[in-house]
Amino acid sequence: MNGKLTGTSAVLLYLITAGMMIFVLCPIVLIMTISFSDGYFVSFPPTGFTTSWYVSVFQNSEFTSALLFSFVLAVGTTILSLLLGVPAAFAIVRGNFPGRTLCKGLLLSPLIFPVLITGLALLQLFSSYGWSTVKLNLLIAHTVVTSPYVIRTVLTSLELVNPTLEEAARTLGATRWQTFRRVIFPQIAPGIASGAIFCFMVSFDNYPVSMWLADSANTPVPVVLYRQIGTVFDPSVATMSSIIIGLSAAVVLILDRLVGLRRAMAM
């Protein structure tokens, strides 16, 4: 690290930071605490200790099937985003067509567009064409939202790849595909991995797009949870939330192991 923090200003900075860490963790820790409460209503302080909510939540087929649905949807979204995104990022960095900067802006633009409105626009599109395959609609909609993450992470890592290595491989007789697989891919693999993990996370957590497009047979887990929050007042909602928190934590740890958090966040 460059430059050290010392003196009273350092104490102040650490104190504020500690306060913010408590602020950030508070709701998450509270949910996890209440998920073990044996009261019939959510209240603070939690009473008793029981794991029975976990048992009942895993017996709740609405929740478990939503969990499975969200998982499959997130995996599908990730695969489709990578299939579309990695070649496109490659074309922007290695291509020679005019308007590459504009194209890059266009491909990244779903990131700044309000996600809720993306979902609404797609609801309109799908209903006007009469596309009633909800699974496919959700896959398309989630991919619109997640593909920019692939573009961003893969672009960043492709820009660091030295083009002379590719030229050397080509001069030595490697085909384009061999050059990609043996020379480029190993160098951009961390970028692809973090792009993939971002896609998975964003799709798995998404509510504002799924809310428009889901139906009762195809419900991702945030939609089920949202409905439960308004209708169920026992700790089972906290238990479902805790399970989602646990899964999210696992994904973050995977990202940290594979790529490193700071690198993944481009810090």
Partner: protein
């Protein structure tokens, strides 16, 4: 590698524009000799599933819906006039802008200390702080909003009310939930990382020797911050404020779950118009206003950042 010949029929005109090159050679150069074509699948996907639907939705805002629900001619501005004439709607617009501004400002103020610790603190601390800042990003907004419901819960069993009552600071439980304050607190929680990350990245690029020089020349810590660190961190601040403002303006879940009737935002109103009233043109009007706000903020921020880079290059 095989050339995707099916893609080649789209460019006969372009080939003719280059007389020295045979069409075959042009096609070979574009599709076999270069990766240019690889942008086409994603570009086509986004044109069909993002750009065109978004534009069409925004066009709905100047169209009329007949009794059968069909949307089309005549073109009209009546939905915009209605939006800006009825105080119920403009109130929601101002609430949206106010909540987004307050959230961005508070986030910026609180993010500086955290970002400075992230780039200058000792390694063990920065590792923990990074993890705590980033990990909640992976948790669904719905879950985090639920957490704030439990903390701010009205009545004596909300966490905050329970603590305050037991400390004797209040004698009656406060009505914290379902207020604009609750929405700001919740939004701050969700969007705080979006402020810290660009800020930390900008702070990390500042040459520590500059601050060192300031201190050696006798400037107190606050002056070093105001005169050296703060101006140099501007790109990160602008990027962070833009992100937090755009994301909070487009919120749906937070106002719906922890905001009351007085703190509903544009997104909630658009959803109501579409799902409950089935008024697509008016819903599209609200959506368009939201999109214009977000795009304007982003354009402004790009100008600020772009102009800055330009000046730096000129030096």
């Amino acid at each position: 590698m095989k050339a995707p010949y099916s893609e080649t029929d789209h460019h006969p005109g372009a080939a003719a524009a280059q007389p020295r090159e045979t069409p075959g050679a042009w096609l070979h150069r574009q599709f076999v000799g270069s990766p240019n074509w690889m942008i086409l699948p994603l570009l086509a996907f986004l044109v069909f599933f993002f750009f065109l639907p978004s534009i069409k939705l925004m066009l709905f805002s100047v169209m009329t819906q007949d009794a059968q629900g069909r949307i089309g001619a005549p073109l009209t501005l009546e939905h915009y006039i209605r939006f800006f004439q009825v105080s119920l709607y403009t109130d929601v617009l101002w609430t949206t802008i106010r909540i987004s501004i307050i959230t961005s400002v508070i986030a910026a103020i609180l993010a500086y200390p955290v970002a400075i610790v992230l780039v200058r603190g000792n390694i063990a601390v920065t590792r923990i702080v990074t993890l705590i800042i980033i990990a909640p990003l992976a948790v669904s907004v719905v879950v985090r909003a639920y957490g704030w419901q439990l903390i701010l819960g009205n009545g004596p069993t909300g966490l905050l009310n329970y603590v305050l009552l037991n400390l004797g600071l209040i004698s009656e439980p406060l009505a914290l939930l379902f207020s604009p304050v609750a929405v700001v607190v919740g939004s701050l929680h969700i969007f705080f990382p979006m402020m810290v990350l660009p800020l930390a990245s900008a702070l990390g690029k500042i040459d520590p020797n500059l601050e060192q020089a300031g201190r050696t020349l006798g400037a107190p810590a606050w002056k070093v911050f105001l005169r050296i660190t703060f101006p140099l961190s501007m790109p990160g601040l602008v990027a962070g404020v833009t992100l937090v403002f755009s994301l909070s303006a487009g919120s749906y879940v937070i106002p719906a779950l922890i905001g009351g009737p007085s703190s509903q935002m544009l997104g909630n109103m658009a959803e109501q118009q579409i799902i409950a009233v089935y008024d697509w043109p008016f819903g599209a009007t609200i959506a368009t206003i939201l999109v214009i706000i977000v795009l304007a903020i982003n354009a402004l921020s790009m100008r600020l950042l772009g102009g800055r880079n330009f000046r730096e290059k000129q030096k």
